[in-house]
């Protein structure tokens, strides 16, 4: 545990110092929330959502900031590789598993903090959380999404030599995961053939879970959502740990 804590502590120190990154990664979901939310609010029929579109969008944007921050945190291992710091960690008499867990917990923590910041901003924009338990349910889902995608980032980073493939991963893996997740629109409004694809996207369950927590309404049973995203978190951590073990100096 002490090693996991050590690596987590480093992530936190780096996070707190990277003011521009904190602001930078909150800007995109916040702008989307404002532009899409208020822009489409009067256009989108509220009957199918049971709420205002802008409020429907909040959980999706929270999920988005958690998703992008966590993938980026995981992939940052490549920087450590390039700047040599990974050597310092890997030469120490500690197990790879501890290092990987530390990185995962650290990345997930920063991602969840980013999500909470966005939630606070949403409250300032008029969102109301119905009950405090709902907040903690949403928080639980955010943690699971954070762990899943930090581990995903670590898995990718373990196989990449430099940041050149980063854009590719972001555009062809992370963005489609986000777009298909029902963060921007209700799953039921999709054409029939697209719905199964949405349902195999693990992020869908994360978004739905957060939405259930924050608004009390979701299209997927929150218990199923919790089971799927938890299973995905375990699987990704396993894959990440396996690939990280193979990283050579």
């Amino acid at each position: 545990m002490d090693i996991v804590y050590t690596i987590w502590l480093r992530s936190m120190k780096r996070y707190v110092r990277s003011k521009s990154r904190i602001v930078g990664s909150i800007a995109m979901p916040l702008f989307l929330l404002v532009f899409l939310g208020f822009g489409l609010n009067s256009v989108v029929s509220t009957t199918s959502l049971g709420q205002q579109y802008v409020m429907f969008l909040v959980p999706g944007m929270v999920a988005m900031s958690v998703l992008f921050t966590s993938v980026f945190s995981g992939i940052q291992i490549i920087w450590d590789k390039q700047f040599g710091f990974l050597k310092e960690t890997l030469i120490a008499p500690v197990s790879r598993l501890e290092i990987m867990f530390g990185q995962t917990v650290g990345g997930a923590t920063t991602a969840v903090i980013q999500g909470i910041i966005l939630m606070v901003l949403a409250v300032l924009l008029g969102m109301r959380i119905n009950n405090p338990i709902g907040f903690f349910i949403a928080l639980g889902f955010m943690i699971l999404v954070g762990i899943s995608f930090t581990a995903f980032g670590i898995a990718i980073a373990s196989r990449m030599e430099d940041m050149t493939g980063f854009q590719l991963i972001m555009n062809f893996v992370v963005f489609p995961l986000f777009g298909l997740s029902g963060a921007l629109f209700p799953i039921s409004s999709l054409p029939g053939w697209l719905e199964p694809i949405t349902l195999i996207d693990p992020l869908t369950y994360g978004v739905e879970g957060i939405r259930y927590g924050l608004t009390g309404v979701s299209q997927i049973n929150p218990v199923i959502s919790a089971a799927v995203i938890a299973g995905f978190a375990v699987a990704m951590t396993g894959i990440g740990a396996y690939l990280f073990r193979k990283v050579s100096l």
Partner: protein, 328 residues
């Protein structure tokens, strides 16, 4: 005599390339031992195997009696390492880098805090301890890495090209630190370098390594003595003529190399006029003539037939070729 590092027939292959070829040597406790050779000679590969980050293809080695293949964590606890490339977290302060290391090696808090202060003072970075490493110069970073490598009180310190890319002044400064360390901490140091002066100044014993093999191993003094006296270098358009004109029993060694004739002889100053007279009689033109005490460069040249710089060039060219081939 106690052995700190014992290496027996250690070999590492990368595909067809034999990077390290059946090397064997022992390093005594408290010794500063140098691996000297051009880039790509196999120095870093050897160090990587000894520090358990690379598995040997064959052969064995022990560090402080611990087998590098059997007990990797045991070896890792016993060694401190300063890599060739920087390995600090630039976003953290000097103190935080030290603290991270101390925690990774599970040093109890009180001892950790005390040692960090002590070591930062030793490398004269105590006043800068709360500054972000990004603001540090190359020399300061190196000193911090050395301090960090010592934090868990290793028995053996590995220094891979400790002064590579540093300016001469900083290099001198760093040498003083390393010398002080060896004396005060009574620690065994193994370092790789391709700087002759560095090996000469710091090391008790040197293994000259080329193409993965150890071609000579001794104290710097004895290696230089093996040349057979002083070195006289004569530049001339007619190097072949010199060889025949100067065949004399007091010349211990004569080599023609790149438009120069290099002679080794005892008391060169006394023989200099004889050499010049003889060459004048034979009407062999002399472009320049110089005398110097033998250096490790001469030793390397006499063992390999090439200067270390030429070897570096060759390696670089073949690397470039290699990359070009990989790309196509």
């Amino acid at each position: 005599m106690t052995i700190a590092i014992h290496v027996k027939d250690l070999t590492r292959r990368f595909g067809d390339l034999v990077a390290v070829d059946q090397i064997s040597f022992d390093i005594e406790l408290g010794e500063i031992f140098g691996l000297l050779g051009p880039n790509g000679a196999g120095k870093t590969t050897t160090l990587s195997m000894l520090s358990t980050t690379l598995e040997p293809t064959s052969g064995t080695a022990t560090v402080m009696g611990i087998d590098i293949s059997r007990d990797q964590d045991g070896v890792r606890k016993a060694i401190g390492i300063v890599f060739q490339d920087q390995s600090l977290d630039e976003e953290l302060t000097a103190w935080e880098n030290m603290d991270f290391h101390g925690r990774l090696y599970r040093i109890p808090k009180e001892i950790r805090l005390q040692r960090i202060d002590e070591l930062l003072r030793l490398v004269e970075l105590f006043d800068r301890r709360n500054d972000i490493v990004k603001t540090f110069s190359g020399g300061m970073r190196r000193r911090l890495e050395i301090a960090r490598g010592l934090l868990h009180h290793p028995s053996v310190l590995f220094l891979d090209e400790p002064t590579l890319g540093l300016d001469p002044q900083t290099r001198n400064h760093l040498w003083e630190y390393i010398e002080t360390l060896a004396k005060e901490k009574n620690i065994t140091i193994i370092l790789t370098t391709h700087y002759m002066e560095e090996a000469d100044r710091l090391c008790n014993r040197i293994a000259i390594i080329d193409h993965g093999k150890i071609i000579a191993l001794d104290t710097p003094t004895r290696l230089k003595d093996s040349i057979g006296g002083d070195v006289v270098t004569i530049q001339s358009p007619d190097t072949a003529g010199i060889a025949t004109a100067l065949a004399a029993p007091w010349i211990n060694r004569m080599e023609t190399h790149d438009g120069e004739v290099i002679l080794s002889l005892k008391n060169a100053e006394q023989h200099l006029s004889t050499i010049v007279t003889r060459l004048n009689e034979e009407k062999i033109p002399i472009t320049s003539i110089s005398v110097h005490k033998p250096t490790l460069e001469d030793v390397f040249l006499s063992f390999t037939g090439k200067t270390i710089r030429e070897q570096d060039m060759n390696k670089r060219d073949s690397m470039r070729m290699h990359f070009r081939m990989m790309r196509h």
